[in-house]
């Protein structure tokens, strides 16, 4: 079936879902009535038919960007990655425009007056519009996901057995995580050895330097010094588990080749590695079912005898991983799309909330600012460092009102940034494309934090603002 026929079928499926939602009488009060009105509005005004057409046609064109000469797995990853990016971009923007546009229209035309004079008009308005928008998004998301899956099957020529394609769990070694105890021990040791230098350092600064040094040490392999990496996986290793690594040889040696020895409990294997190139070593079958595995790795230096590379590093959280088969690619994709739906729900709530007091252009700008802030993963992790213990010896200056206020503001800022980090943690499209399993626990977490807490708070705040607003001004005052 050609992609364009698939796109047409997806559009028809979307249209059917919307027509059923609009025409089938569902018992319910004002919220259901307003949500149905929103669905009718975006259907009859052409928003859904046109946006659905754009979404499905965009997906249908994805096979054109693929390189036919590339490997099957690479084609699958590309189409899943770009497909999910396309779907999420269209749906997130649409959720904002549907809700903001609809509410702004009510205010500008003066229709709001007719709605809020009714008994349940004010209280049901925002929840009703929110429900209608998430139903509309679902009507687009389900056919789009089905179409993406069928396209994926077509590009790898395995439309039937793609259902059996596994997904993977990624496990990091424990040594990569630096604990507070390790930092404290390191600082204590350094103070003993160098009381003049380390003893004079401010406590926070000493901890920061210590943490940085330990992290550097734990992330590097010195030539000729073997190092043990502990991987724990309570579910037990399954068949086909592999050790995956992406070493960093430094800028000076980025075009060199080197050797790395990998040992699994006595069995060793030498691997030729290159800077930032991902390599894999299969975990022997005898470890199947084990909950913990120790891998000894030794950096053997450059392949060329003339070259000397003293050490190599693991840069980034995905530099050294154990890949364990867990679940299927399809179930992982579905869970990832569920998380996307939940995020769309939050954006819809945010759009409604800001539209209660802002016009459509400014509301759009504000929500776009949120996207940019939330997507800025670079700074979202800046506050992840654990500062516990820094208050064990309180500084008297901390009690000054100005310091307390500054600390409170900083704490608030840190909380907001931490919350924005939640958004990034629940963006799972690229992980699915890379074959990683998205756990059901992540869906629950996304539902609770983004769906219930974030969206719930936005809707409550929006409803409160709406109830405090005067709606009689119309367009003439």
């Amino acid at each position: 079936m050609t992609p364009f026929i698939l796109a047409f079928l997806a559009w028809v499926m979307m249209a059917l879902v919307v027509q059923v939602a609009v025409r089938v009488p569902v018992p319910g009060g004002a919220v259901v009535a307003i949500s149905r009105t929103l669905l009718i509005e975006i259907w009859r005004r052409g928003v859904l038919p046109i946006c659905g057409g754009i979404l499905f046609l965009g997906l249908a064109m994805l096979p054109w960007i693929l390189d036919d000469s590339s490997e099957e797995s690479s084609r699958l990853q590309t189409i899943l990655d770009y497909g999910q990016i396309w779907i999420s971009s269209v749906l997130l923007l649409l959720s904002m425009w549907i809700t903001s546009g609809s509410l702004a229209d009510e205010i500008v035309t003066g229709r709001m007056r007719v709605l809020v004079v009714h008994r349940h008009g004010k209280s049901a308005l925002l929840p009703g519009k929110w429900l209608g928008s998430v139903l509309a998004i679902l009507a687009l998301l389900v056919p789009a996901t089905a179409m993406l899956w069928m396209l994926s099957g077509q590009v790898v020529d395995r439309s039937t057995d793609l259902f059996g394609e596994p997904a993977y769990e990624l496990v990091q070694p424990q040594i990569m995580e630096v604990s507070r105890e390790e930092v404290e021990s390191y600082v204590a040791l350094q103070k003993l050895e160098d009381p003049a230098g380390w003893g004079a350092l401010d406590r926070d600064k000493a901890y920061r330097i210590a943490r940085s040094r330990i992290e550097r040490l734990s992330h590097s392999l010195v030539q000729g010094v073997p190092m043990d990496y502990h991987f724990q996986y309570p579910g037990g290793l399954s068949e086909g588990a592999v050790l995956e690594f992406r070493p960093s040889l430094g800028r000076l040696h980025r075009s060199e080749r080197a050797r790395l020895r990998v040992q699994f409990d006595g069995t060793s294997k030498d691997v030729v590695i290159r800077n930032s190139v991902r390599s894999q070593v299969e975990v022997p079958d005898r470890f199947r079912g084990d909950q913990e595995i120790v891998v000894t790795m030794e950096f053997l230096g450059a392949v060329s005898e003339e070259m000397r590379i003293p050490s190599m590093n693991w840069n980034g959280s995905d530099a050294l991983l154990l890949r364990i088969q867990e679940g299927s690619l399809l179930s992982s994709l579905i869970r990832s799309q569920l998380l996307l739906w939940i995020r769309c729900g939050f954006v819809a709530a945010l759009g409604l909330m800001v539209s209660t007091f802002l016009g459509l252009p400014v509301a759009t700008l504000l929500v776009l600012c949120f996207f940019i802030a939330a997507a800025g993963g670079g700074f979202a992790g800046a506050f992840d460092e654990n500062h516990e213990g820094s208050h064990s010896h309180p500084d008297p200056r901390d009690q000054e009102p100005s310091r307390v206020i500054i600390d409170l503001l900083a704490g608030g800022g840190e909380w907001i940034v931490g919350q924005l980090g939640d958004w990034n943690r629940h963006v799972t499209g690229s992980r699915v494309a890379a074959g990683e399993n998205v756990k059901i626990a992540e869906v629950y977490s996304g539902f609770t934090r983004i769906g219930l807490i974030w969206a719930g708070l936005a809707l409550l705040l929006g409803t409160w603002i709406n109830s405090r607003k005067e709606h009689g001004l119309g367009v003439d005052r």
């Binding site: 004002a30 259901v32 009535a33 809020v116 008994r119």
Partner: protein
Amino acid sequence: MSVKVKPDNRQDVEVIRVRGLRKVFRDFWLRPRVEALREVDLTIYSGEVFGLLGPNGSGKSTTIQILLGLLFPSAGEVSVLGKPPATAEIKNRIGYLPEDSVFYPFLTGREMLDLSASLAKVADSQRKGRIEDLLEMVGLQDAGDREIGDYSKGMQRRIGIAQALIHDPEILILDEPTNGLDPLGVREMKDWIGALRQRGKTVLISSHLLADVEQICDRVSILYGGKVQTTGSIEQILARDDRTLWVTSNPGEDLLAEARRQIEKSGIEVVSMGPGSRSLEDKFLETVEAARESGEKTTGAGIGAKLPAFIGQSKVPR
């Protein structure tokens, strides 16, 4: 066909009470911009048709929107059915027809009435029947499945009055109810208002069309500059001690001349005298009626019917 409303059905139960009402509109920086209402006092009794008159910007719409809870008063006391407006209980006892027909253009007439019924919590079992009754009442039973955006202005006013009545409210607030209606629609609107009054409803009308108000209202208030300038029954306001109007069947020219001579002989001034004429409204209605009877087709509103039976079943304050 016309219903001449007389203030004989009024009961002295206050349903709307306004005392010392002030409304100041402020700008973004909360600086006073416009003082729309200044010390407005109003009392509207159960079962009366009350007219709120005044030129543009006199405060009619502001008063109405405060009564509906759409605007909040800056000062003063407002009570509707004994309670502050904007409470959920009060809202369900008021029907509102806005001045401009701001209904969803993409909904059909039936869907719009269904939405209003849902917002007003009309029971599912009654909803369909009420919608059909009201569509018949406003003469839109054949246009009920057309989108409101395709309606003429008059048809939109008709669907507006239907949505205001869907929950059988005790008080009806009609902002320029005859605005955009053809003379037939105006006549029907007046008949419906009269019938509502007969069923014990209280109706508050804001209008510029003084002739309509004169025909249908029991009492009126005239606002100017955000203040009530005068209030009273139509008879009280319009009564003149220095004029008398006679309307007779055609007496013939000789008798008329004789009567005039006798009156003038007594020292009474005859201000005007002449042959009677029908109103343009009557002529228009006659013409349309004749065209209908001859079988002419129209895509517009049909002939309206009387108020449905369910109107007036809700409790009326005594």
